[in-house]
Subunit: 405 residues, 2 copies
């Protein structure tokens, strides 16, 4: 008699986006007046840049004729892409990362979700709160937690992001229980907070001292424009001995529907004499078969001079939206985080996140994300996404100001 | 101190293709005479069909302009593709499968590897021998086996494929230990064997009686041309209550480098009151973010009248290669399986698989796959793949006949 993985039963219903969809549908059914403006989900709206489209077409064309056709590619990604990544994203910033450490994949969500497979089932894991739910849910599925009590899973350590620490937890926030694996995300989803080099150095030194590992989600690094801020954790000395980094073309170049990302597992990380890179390589090549060749060709175009210019413009476009949103919310009188070096604005409304959600939905026909959906520490906050067309963002903030003033 | 998943240490080195590559490289370095002909790996060589290329380009073009741009799609795949699949691959053959049961993914390798996550860690698993290594390795990684002894993992049940059963094991081959999850693959990789409706019905009846689950890998179903043979396990009554089916566009339409596949989890499968479909949906949407939109658009073109004609021609092309290979090997005097309704020819050479490999490499400059690489029962056999250009296949068999005669 087949028996199921019992840990799935512990998972809380993915109530956040289901509940948002339900309330939006109800509202739309009874209030067919103004079109809704969605600043909720973190999905891009601008098309792929021209140089990326050109390369994408070329890749498709090659698949259509026998002379250039490519079947199975290397599971780790084509060298042309891995080398472009290593050069532009790491060597150019002085990071000791080689093409051999880079694993191209179809999404940072997949990689951040799958990476925990490499660790013992009773590994002590710490996550931030507020948190991107994938870090938590995948550890629940793997049996590293107990039941959910008041929205938190037993056995998982939650590092609290607060106004006091600017939503950047430090190793002190782990408490006495410590952790063997720590998930960090900067620029942060959902708070938009960024970590300084000093703050990341504290984490790197802690991890190297403890023999712990940092899983560093840098999916939003492209939004870092302040030259003082690190884009990669490998800008911190010693990080190549204790940190895995996740990157994505989703937000950098508009690939949310096109699918390409990569994970960096430095060869310098050794545990019990085993290179973590080789373990991930085994996992990646056993359970994955490489990214679509035309998609990899499109991703490589991001690193061409035109691609760099065009994606830079794309990022600037969304950052201007973020600036507009943050300025508006501050005008209403709210404290804000993010929206600089990040596409997300994190707003303290001082009332229940869902109440603010309902107010903005009903009075402004604007959809945002209630902060409590990202964890207990998100209660009293909302996340507003800059991923939309500028005209809609401008209209949305006008509506919000009217609704809340 | 970080601790690793200890089960990875049990994995045998993926010696098969590494060892093949080493011997091929050695040979090529010392014998730069004739170009090698590779009939080893199961990778297609013909380009994507014209109708698929046209749709692929259209999808790329849509991603390049704001009016049609698509960001995150449904993790399960777009309805246009799921509905085309449900209609053509299942409804047309009388199978009770709806679009809602279909999960589009980037590869059958990924899905056959990931599906075991849904089951208890001590689930009793049975695999065929010879076997596609992914079924085995992913269960080893998940801790469902003991150590490898003489090439077999303790705790795993191996169902032996032999000349006597035509490489189609039956539930009797499970022995007294039984199994809760059974992997089956027809047309088979590597033996090319096909299962009749009666043979599959025996499995379905067994699974429903035991409350066990069949993971049915039908990646090669497109090669079934005999109308008496089932293409899907859902052609067997009751299979929708006990079987998950894996399908791929890789071999059907040349997508090995383009990446699109799908898995069918019928809503009728319930375990302890939980729909297996809903569990897979949770896994799929937590750890996966959908297939590239232009790729899904390209896959949907396979179901257009032109796409059906063109992919039919593609399959016929490879099947003609398979016929040529099988005829040649029989001419040499060997017993063969497969090569009909399958792109693989399984040849009994009566000597060590690696000896035959070396002979063909050295005397014919042809690369095949030694059967022992697929398990103990593959010793004494070789697998020859029909995935190459017809001219090369013709030359390869001439060389093989000369070398072995």
């Amino acid at each position: 008699m087949i028996r199921l993985n019992e840990h799935y039963a512990k998972l809380q219903a993915s109530y956040l986006f289901v509940e948002i969809a339900r309330r939006v549908a109800d509202h739309a059914a009874t209030n067919p007046a103004r079109p809704l403006i969605k600043l909720g989900i973190g999905d891009v709206t601008r098309p792929l840049p021209p140089s990326v489209i050109t390369a994408f077409h070329e890749g498709v064309e090659e698949q259509g004729n026998a002379a250039n056709f490519r079947g199975y590619g290397p599971e780790q990604g084509y060298d042309f892409l891995r080398e472009a990544i290593a050069k532009a994203d790491f060597a150019a910033r002085g990071c000791p990362i080689s093409a051999n450490d880079i694993f191209v994949s179809d999404g940072a969500k997949c990689d951040t979700g799958n990476f925990q497979e490499l660790f013992a089932p009773d590994t002590r894991v710490a996550v931030p709160d507020p948190v991107y739910p994938v870090y938590v849910d995948t550890n629940v599925m793997a049996g590293r937690t107990g039941a959910a009590v008041d929205g938190r899973y037993e056995g998982l350590t939650y590092m609290e992001g607060t106004e006091a620490n600017g939503f950047v937890p430090s190793p002190k926030d782990l408490g006495s229980q410590g952790a063997e694996v720590v998930y960090l995300c900067f620029p942060n989803n959902p708070t938009g907070a960024t970590a300084t080099k000093e703050q990341l150095a504290e984490w790197v030194d802690w991890a190297n001292a403890q023999g712990s590992l940092i899983l560093f989600d840098a999916a939003y690094e492209a939004f870092v424009t302040n030259p003082e801020l690190p884009k990669s954790i490998y800008e911190i000395p010693g990080a190549d001995r204790c940190a895995v980094e996740f990157r994505s073309f989703s937000k950098t170049a508009g690939f949310t529907g096109t699918r390409c990302a990569y994970t960096v597992v430095p060869s310098a990380i050794e545990i019990d004499g085993i290179k973590l890179r080789d373990m991930w390589n085994r996992r990646h090549s056993t359970k994955f078969n490489g990214v679509s060749y035309p998609v990899q060709k499109a991703a490589a175009a991001v690193y061409s001079p035109e691609g760099q210019k065009e994606t830079g413009d794309l990022i600037a476009y969304y950052l201007e939206n973020a600036r507009i949103i943050r300025a508006a919310m501050e005008k209403v009188g709210y404290s804000c985080w993010g929206g600089e070096n990040s596409p997300y604005v994190w707003v303290k409304t001082g009332e229940s996140s869902w109440d603010t959600f309902d107010t903005l939905l009903k009075k402004a026909d604007v959809v945002i994300t209630p902060g409590s959906g990202f964890g207990r520490m998100g209660e009293g906050f909302i996340r507003i996404s800059a991923f939309n067309d500028k005209e809609r963002v401008e209209e949305a903030v006008e509506r919000i100001i009217t609704a809340l003033s």
